[in-house]
């Protein structure tokens, strides 16, 4: 086996110390989860952030297996490429995957499908997630949220305690000091854990490049049937987003920066067909990642409100 000094420069050049520091912090957090909780779960959407979490967990516990399962809260409106990727990853790495469907929550009458032009299943996920937490008695849910994503996220702790309704009390968060993470909770409460809180979008992409991590193909530029609405580019291929007759379908070279629910995730024009080009594109971009998420534009406090209700 290779023997070398830690923190030697690598191909990522100037970024190494920075990325290394973030990785060390994330691994520490994941080990705290495994040590402090009885039944943790890693929330996995098949997106770049949760894929990064899986790699970090793999590193944190090697040569042992990742000591918690993955769980996907499936809105039923996923990009097919993401689901195909999810199933392959789980199989190749021998991981346990739990899937719970928003459609079931709709069928059970627990949530009501939104209607109209901007309808999305994104916020419906919360109910399905909270039900699954109760069903499996998960006491810690690891998520790939980052503080740079959105200003309500910027206020979130690394160990974020939620009450037994899954609610976030943003005005009464536990102080989090030094590296010390307090995971003590009462039965019924759970903790949302965000190991990559301090990463930016560019950090995640740099890490994916550095580690050679595989990601779903929709992150790379491809030709896609699309239409324009409110200055954003929507996929016309999947029949999820309701399209008006005057919204013209055109083929464009696009990629996706996030792979959330299709009903609220817009594409961006891009010719980035490789990871190097994606990293370069993000570095030069003048639009934030969440700029392509329609659900955040509903109001100035859209994310905060969702989080108060138990959204991850």
């Amino acid at each position: 086996m290779e023997v070398k000094e830690l923190e030697v420069p690598t191909e990522i050049g100037e970024n190494t110390a920075h990325i290394n520091a973030l990785e060390n912090e994330a691994i520490y957090i994941l080990r705290e989860v495994a040590a402090q909780f009885e039944k943790p779960v890693l929330l996995f959407s098949g997106g770049k952030d949760s894929i990064t979490l899986v790699r970090l967990a793999q590193k944190a516990f090697w040569p042992a297996k990742i000591p918690f399962p993955l769980m996907h809260i499936d809105t039923g409106h996923n990009f097919p490429e993401t689901i195909e990727f999810r199933d392959r990853l789980v199989k190749e790495m021998g991981l346990e995957l739990i899937v719970r469907n928003v459609q079931d929550s709709i069928d059970q009458g627990k949530v009501k499908e939104e209607s109209g032009r901007y309808s999305s299943r994104n916020s419906l996920q919360t109910t399905t997630l909270l039900d699954a937490i109760e069903e499996f008695k998960f006491d810690a849910c690891i998520g790939g949220a980052r503080r740079d994503e959105e200003k309500a996220r910027a206020k979130e702790r690394i160990f974020s305690v939620r009450d037994d309704f899954g609610q976030w009390d943003e005005r009464n968060q536990r102080p989090e000091l030094f590296d010390m993470l307090n995971g003590q909770i009462e039965l019924g409460q759970n903790v949302r854990v965000f190991p990559i809180s301090n990463w930016t979008e560019l950090d995640v992409w740099s890490y994916i490049k550095y580690e050679g991590i595989e990601i779903p193909s929709i992150y790379f530029a491809h030709k896609r049937k699309t239409f324009l609405r409110d200055g954003m580019i929507w996929s016309a291929e999947d029949g999820i987003v309701f399209r008006d007759e005057d919204e013209v379908v055109e083929e464009r070279m696009v990629r996706f920066r996030t792979v959330g629910d299709m009903s609220c995730t817009a594409a961006v024009l891009s010719d980035a067909i490789s990871i190097d080009k994606v990293v370069a594109e993000i570095r030069d971009s003048s639009i934030s990642e969440r700029g392509a998420r329609i659900d955040d534009k509903r109001s100035e406090a859209a994310m905060e409100k969702r989080k108060q209700q138990g959204y991850f």
């Binding site: 830690l6 920075h18 080990r31 040590a35 042992a64 000091l177």
Partner: protein, 415 residues
């Protein structure tokens, strides 16, 4: 590229959020959609300037009241460094959040309103930065535009602050003064033409020049065992790895180590990060260590170099920053979380309360209320392995957890 963590401190309306917004704007770190949102909302509110605090005050209640309630983490990078700014609240009642923000930072920015000068809150901000042994402090004298960029006023405030510096007990701390206008952008990122008398660096230039190794408090190597890795697979049948993060100094293969509390000696056999072996694990790296001998170690135990033992005691005295509405008093029991180690603790004695505005101590105090700071001694049910906070930021600090609410109710710095 390195990461520099900075905490801000300033009173309400001193312009912390505006300063951060200004840094983001002038370093072109605000994406166009975020900038548009700021422009839109500023207009709605009828302001004739851009309200940059909208970029950092993320909660509805904060925007309603125009104040920062909780720490926000803001990220930006330049060609030289990556920065994380902990934007901490200025209100007296949020002292605990200020301690929280400063606890992970290597540098601090204290804002002073040039019209008001050094006020009681400035003393408090400086005290907390001293208590937490933040090595680099930048005093940004803000709103210079409102005092006609007066050199005289700047020097007056600087002299007042220098008087305050005589009271500190942390002499290694470096203080730098910069006259700025966060609103107009003077000396934040770009040099100002309005202050020809100021020959120093702009705020950002100063931060860019900081050497990270020099601003970090290092201390000697401590390796708390976080998690024991036993795969029990055919391939790794006998693997017994101790996972954790290296604090202070570094550890190398072949180092003679002592396991605490058993005080058993062994040598480091291998250091792993994932499936790669390394000769040396440096400060703050998360690694997995295997030892040459079979010794029993579990979470909360600690590996240290054989010639460099910490204090192993069932009692200690510490400066406590109290963060809960339920008071701390002699006889109360708490969980002490020291790194990853948890022990039960009983408050032995409240020695004296310290006024964080440097106005003195109160030897009659028997209990601590929210935001109080005091010297307190504790007795523990098991020994912990600690260093003094001034020698080791990690191994000298702890948190107190309420056994009923499970809340983090205090932070402690071992004296």
């Amino acid at each position: 590229m390195e990461v520099l963590k900075i905490a801000t401190a300033g009173s309400v309306d001193d312009g912390k959020s505006t300063l951060i917004g200004r840094i983001l704007y002038d370093t072109k770190s605000l994406t166009s959609d975020k900038l548009e949102a700021i422009e839109r909302t500023s207009k709605q509110k009828g302001y004739d300037y851009l309200d940059f605090s909208l970029a950092t005050d993320g909660l509805v209640a904060e925007r309603e009241q125009g104040i920062t309630i909780d720490v926000a983490h803001i990220y930006f990078s330049t060609a030289k460094k990556s920065y994380i700014i902990a934007d901490t609240p200025g209100h007296v009642e949020y002292t605990r959040n200020m301690v929280t923000g400063a606890s992970t930072s290597q540098a601090a920015i204290i804002l002073i309103d040039a019209r008001k000068g050094v006020i009681e809150q400035t003393n408090r901000h400086f005290f907390i930065n001293n208590l937490l042994r933040i090595k680099e402090v930048v005093v940004a004298i803000n709103k210079m535009d409102l005092v006609d960029f007066s050199e005289e006023r700047y020097n007056e405030i600087k002299a007042d602050f220098e008087k305050l510096m005589e009271k500190r007990d942390y002499a290694d701390q470096k203080i730098t003064f910069v006259p700025v206008s966060a609103l107009k952008g003077d000396n934040v990122v770009n040099k100002s033409e309005n202050t020809p008398w100021y020959k120093g660096e702009t705020l950002l230039e100063h931060l860019e020049g900081l050497d990270l190794a020099a601003v970090s408090n290092v201390g000697t190597p401590r390796f708390p065992v976080q998690y024991v890795i036993r795969p029990k697979t055919e391939e790794h049948h006998d693997f017994r790895g101790f996972a954790g993060k290296v604090y202070g100094g570094e550890l190398s293969v072949g180092d003679e180590v002592v396991a605490l509390p058993s005080q058993t000696r062994s040598k480091i056999k291998d250091i792993y990060v994932y499936d790669k072996k390394y000769k040396t694990a440096s400060r703050r790296s998360s690694v997995t260590i295997t030892l040459e001998d079979e010794i029993n170690l579990s979470r909360g135990d600690m590996l240290v170099k054989a010639n460099d033992l910490p204090t192993i005691e069932k009692q200690f005295t510490a400066t406590i920053s109290w963060m809960d509405s339920k008071p701390l008093a002699a006889g109360n029991k708490y969980v002490v979380q020291h790194g990853v180690n948890k022990v039960l603790a009983k408050v032995d004695q409240v020695h004296h309360k310290i006024a964080p505005d440097y106005s003195g101590i109160d030897t009659q105090a028997k209990a601590l209320g929210m935001n109080d700071i005091a010297e307190v001694s504790f007795r523990l049910n098991k020994p912990i392995f600690y260093d003094k906070f001034k020698n080791h930021r990690t191994n000298g600090s702890f948190i107190l957890i309420d056994t009923q609410s499970n809340n983090t109710v205090g932070a402690g710095f071992i004296s």
